[in-house]
Symmetry: C2
Subunit: 131 residues, 2 copies
DNA sequence: AAGGATATGTAATGTCATAACATATTGGCC
DNA sequence: GGCCAATATGTTATGACATTACATATCCTT
């Protein structure tokens, strides 16, 4: 069912999975130089497929990518991200009520939603405790 | 109360207000060449101020900017955008329940939200009717 | 008039993403 | 096995978005 990953896809996935925070495509590339990757497109192509498979998310407000925290569990869900501007960590969550409300708006306005982005920028509790 | 706009800010604001759809900073620049603007920074600096004043919004998923549809009316609101990928037009709306739910999540996770982005990409009714 | 804050002008550079083209690998299907 | 289509890969160049750094000008307050 889940297709196997190709070499480049595996490398990119592994890099993202091991990262503490979102990475830009160029940062991923830098970390994979030793594995033979040389051009941005090698990373972007792998990311495209991983996004399609739902294994990776793109954070629009950051122009960066994260490994999905709950692969396969949200086929139908609307995912929101809380991004700490201090430590860079990202929390992934979903809220059925939010989804219902946005779906309701779309329906009443005859808007056919293809993809919805919800990103909250701020400071996570951990950072505040330290600061 | 509302500070007057400087020359560059006015030019940028006027360009965005007259546009049917979001514009990138470089598109704005191109449209203002005849008014003497020459460098991206002149546009970005004006945009920064206009964003601060709440007269303009940035669409993260588009790397583009729109004039605010309801200036001064949403000091406290959470604004969502529905972006038509067909005609490019953007609808701006807010939903108190969505705001409450996201605020609730943030509170329960000790996350201090600074800015929240909600962007729905899809097709607006008008486009579907034509297609 | 002096001085600080804000706005402006300009060049250079940094960051993110894709187009275009060539080559290689994979996987059915006869 | 051999063929062909689909998919993946490699590489160069270019396009699109945004900021750093520095110089100059304007505005406001005293």
């Amino acid at each position: 069912m889940t297709p196997d990953l190709t070499r480049n896809q595996s490398l990119v996935m592994k890099t993202l999975s091991g990262a503490e925070a979102p990475l830009s495509a160029y940062t991923i590339l830098d970390r994979l130089r030793d594995d033979g990757l040389r051009a941005p497109l090698q990373v972007y192509r792998a990311l495209d497929k991983l996004l399609d498979m739902g294994l990776v998310h793109r954070l629009e407000s950051l122009n960066a990518f994260v490994a999905c925290a709950h692969p396969h569990t949200h086929e139908q869900e609307l995912i929101a991200f809380a991004i700490c501007e201090n430590c860079g960590k990202v929390e992934e969550f979903s809220d059925e009520v939010v989804k219902e409300r946005l779906d309701g708006w779309a329906k009443s306005h005859r808007f056919r939603a293809a993809k919805t982005t919800i990103e909250i920028r701020g400071d996570c509790g951990g950072c505040e405790a330290k600061g």
